[in-house]
Subunit: 381 residues, 4 copies
């Protein structure tokens, strides 16, 4: 009689698209349906064909999309199934709808897997990782986004290493977070930003140390891993508000530009300010437009355009923006703030004040305010 293989961890890989699975056609890189799984099946480090046959893996799981890693150092097997989107998506084209779809697919399969890996183009991976971190409520299993700068089919590439590391972490460690794994580092998903368009080391988590490093050994920084303090049931909130935007301050920005940007249906805006949250204080025209918007119910978050830094409520410098009704974004990345707005604004049962409060609170480790900051650092004065 057919029995399930035991002592195996199961990981669901959702292949949304991106460079990692592209192939060359007429000298142009492009996505190809089913190419990834076919290709992985030929790579011995990513699929142990002999084990699959011997254990009757394909009798139990579907042949088409199920693979199994070689035995890991601690004698575990990771069986992974690939759910490929059709058509495959270019990450430049990703929208809130696509975030919702990924969320639903995780929810649907949540009970059947020990962890999840999301393959995704690098261009908007930080936005998607942030969004998923908010959408996934009471998460108890790892969700690891990854991808690559060079396709897995090329001779020298970063795709194999990224996928392998993501699978090993998703299958072996109970890190109940939405993470992003790239170039041997695991980051919290809502803390990263793409900082290099041409290097394997493409992502940075400027305001938080990595959750793990995977070099000779995989080392988890358990003190940093986020622990939910509820035991509520996991659910994915796929309701997302699309009327959100990102506006970067620059010298000479006109009030007309700001006004146009803040027009309905815009409901939430991340304003990328200078330094620790600064804006011109000699521009009543500008401040008035901001104030008009917040008065009419638009939520505006004050985030810095610097890679590293914090916008706090205690600085005098950003006071004019507080007066204009903006909310301090702390050390959130613009990507995290934008997707948090999208998530919070969709909470129809909450009134505006409640939404504003949520925006200023730490929900998923995306800001340091109530979190590690207090514990880890004590600033002199």
């Amino acid at each position: 009689p057919l029995t399930s293989p035991t002592a195996e961890a199961r990981v669901l890989v959702i292949n949304t698209g991106g460079t990692i699975g592209m192939t060359i056609h007429d000298n142009v890189l492009a996505p190809t349906a089913n190419a990834l799984v076919k290709s992985l099946r030929k790579l011995p480090i990513l699929h142990d064909a002999m084990y699959a046959q011997q254990t009757g893996l394909y009798d139990y799981y579907s042949y088409e999309n199920t693979l199994v890693l070689p035995l890991s150092k601690d004698k575990k097997r990771i069986v992974y199934s690939i759910l490929e989107y059709s058509p495959l998506l270019d990450s430049s084209n990703m929208t809130t709808d696509d975030w919702g779809r990924i969320g639903k697919d995780i929810e649907k399969n949540y009970e059947n897997y020990d962890g999840f890996v999301i393959l995704h183009g690098t261009d908007t991976m930080a936005y998607t990782a942030s969004a998923l971190s908010f959408m996934c409520e009471h998460l108890g299993k790892p969700i690891v986004l990854t991808g690559s700068q060079v396709p897995i089919f090329e001779m020298r590439n970063d795709g194999r290493g990224n996928l392998l590391g993501a699978l090993l972490i998703a299958g072996q460690f109970v890190i109940p977070e939405v993470c992003l794994y790239f170039y041997n580092k695991l980051h919290r998903g809502n803390r990263v930003t793409k900082v290099d368009a041409g290097s394997f080391n493409a992502f940075s988590s400027p305001n938080l140390a990595p959750l793990a490093t995977a070099e000779v050994d995989i080392k988890i920084n358990w003190d940093t891993v986020w622990r939910p303090n509820t035991t509520a049931k996991f659910q994915v909130s796929t309701e997302l508000n699309r009327n959100v935007g990102l506006l970067r301050l620059f010298p000479g920005i006109t009030s007309a530009t700001v006004k146009a940007f803040l027009q309905p249906p815009m409901m939430g805006v991340v304003l990328e300010t200078y330094g620790s949250g600064n804006a011109p204080d000699n521009r009543p025209d500008l401040l008035q437009e901001l104030k008009k918007a917040t008065d009419s119910g638009v939520i505006i978050i004050n985030c810095t355009q610097c890679l590293r830094g914090t916008v706090s409520t205690s600085y005098a410098t950003g006071m004019v923006l507080m007066d204009a009704g903006l909310i301090a974004g702390g050390d959130m990345t613009p990507e995290a703030a934008l997707s948090k707005l999208s998530y919070v604004l969709a909470k129809d049962k909450l009134d505006l004040d409640a939404k504003k409060k949520l925006m200023g609170r730490n929900l998923r480790g995306e800001m340091s305010v109530d979190l590690a900051g207090a514990k880890l650092c004590l600033s002199d004065s």
Copy 2:
């Protein structure tokens, strides 16, 4: 008869404002007129009062704003005069008008000084440094912007070191560039961006190595220093077009937002795209708005929102933006691209095509295309 002290280098310090010269009033940091020079006069490393008296420096120069550094290691004297703006400016409030004013002040004093130091708030220093680099045509002397994260009056501060390093470089080395000096590094001014709101090491030059480091010794990287190949007369072009803007792409950006941003009088826009210059290619609505704008004469530059990276014309990925009439921004920072637009668009004698060509060419070392790139790197294929 009164004779000028010889063997001295002369540096003009233009104090526009910023944290470096702030003092505390009622627990709030604020700029105070003439406070900086008074304070410097009391700091022995920044003013050699005995030398000033002995040499009759104040008979020759004005007492109020002239100071002299102690003898440098190679037995040189740097006499510096401070031209302070009234009122002092918060860098968040800086506009093209202020860039023009600084430029005019340099031009007016160009023949009388060996070098120039511009004290400036850090928030928009990268924007101003970029703008000045374009405005200063046929520059033959160093112009060094600096400032600090902590006021020079505080006990532990970065202002003294930054000012001292800037003075020593401006007074001793013929680096005919607009530079930015911070935390012991000299960068090309149009290559920097503020990356840290809370650290002394606030600026990064992501796509170009420093021009100099100043630790135990000052080491100039002469191979990187930009050399003009003309001997034309120095002049400052203070004509700047204000109708320029900076727009960052984000998932779900609407064509309405883009359309509103591109409305007249907007004439030049830096579009911060994904990765190596990517944008959604499944959004005809969005691309149409961009195309409409470029067709009507708006110049749009494609720059990456990644800290490091290059948008080249050779990638297929950014093709839809090329088709929409955008110009590849290479490895220019958004700050450099924005101020270059402001400078180029003001060249009234040039037609639109000539302006577009200028935008794609390397004018002041702001992009690597015709510069070091070809010489220093050879990419495999």
Copy 3:
């Protein structure tokens, strides 16, 4: 009647010598007696002369060697007295005797001060910091070593910043450790090594994150600060064994060299091995010499010659050295291991086995074994 000024912290600065206090004579840098305190008295950021006069500081403390910092941000005063060694010492000349003298001076003054700053040449500062960390038993106050690459008298120097930071930390924070402060970072003293002979950023703590960073604010990483779990009385153990040495493995090292190095009176040796603690296993001549030495009572510690890394007891690779009687040094620096040997070997009441056990145990946070390692990292297998 004369009353002591209150609300002041008191710091003792022991000036042993080094570049920080040197002056130029006939074009050569050299130490000069009493030059440092005279010079500091003229620097307003390092001495508030007006406060000293107004409060009658000199009536209470000695004029000659007492200074006071300006008011700190949190309204504290740090009064510091300088105890200068005569003659001033070149750190290259430092020996165990000098370590003992510093230790005794700390012990003698322990009750009268809130913290201690040791000015020291950079060349052997890591050795002295390590030694003091072991000698100071049941330490409850901060001891901060610092110095500089460029003398405090020079125009552009790192001495003022280093001294100021060390004073502020020693006077304001209860960090009961021997630390080393350099270039805005506070490190545990027995974790550092000098890595750069020509940069302000001269020290590295390769296997432990900094205890604090001092940029715009001073941020203490309290989770890393070492807390003694005893309340025993502070004492300094100045008994140190001088018959210790440091030997680095290299390809082709002869057994004659090793034998000569291990001759009596040598009693303790740090062997700098390859990688994770490796040595030739095909060299019975060499291994025999090591075994002979350990058999005769020499304690040999196996440390890596790599900047970063750990020699553990669990690796098969270093097995031949274990068999030869060596003790795994974990992630101790060679400097820490050497001075720990010097300290442990002088414990006359302990027999050889007890000394060996002490060498393998974590005494002052110098190795990660029983400390942070277990807590912070979980290695996969």
Copy 4:
């Protein structure tokens, strides 16, 4: 008729041993004869079996040890043959004899290959790379050493990437140097040192920038690549003197230790001094031993024990060592200085003075003195 495949580059891989080719036996990693080539044959990115069959590669070259990479991006084929040492060597066991053997194997095969890859354990790879750089006179082809921290047979490893990168560089670029390739960087072989025992990023070139980086593209820094200015015939000087040693200064080092170390047959010693080349100047006993040795013909090179730094002849501080007859080692690594001694001392036709002069001169880019230093940096004074 049998024809040679054209348009192929040929690389000889000399597998001396090391972690990269180890396999597990009874839970212990150990080298296994012929295991590497068998394993590579199964990895599609490192061997294109179909191409080998179709082109009759095995009719032309030997089947046992010849493999071929997939087509590279620029349509080149790299055919590589593996010459495996028997028995495989642990790098901890490597001696001058092994360096000589590798040199001879390169010389013997020099005309038949376009480039060479040396697989080597990481522990002494920096020593071997340095030695080969001196032994190879008038080198006109790339020799690239590499290896790994984790065996190529393990699931997650750095061996495949390192071997692949080394092959692509050795087969495609005319870099006439002995190099070391690790973790996506190509370094000059006599500039590296192993700095991390537990990370993929194990090597550092502290005083010279990388020759190339291999991430999304392979970028060669041609300005740094060393160009011989002779066209003399390539030859390998396998004569090496074994009577050389490495001695690190430490506080309290006794003259007895130094004397013992310098005894005959010792002929050349690298003394790792403090900082910029400093040693105790109050230790006539020590200095006398050094002087005695140099007087009797031992060549002693003064190198710093700091990772980064330079020992120059111009500093007063190291003067006592100059007086004792030591030669300034500039910014040579100890590894480079040791193997250079071994090479120079074996030049029997040269007298002592000529040998000393050679030691102070830049022979293969191992020091910056007559090289880039002058061109790239100008120190202020």
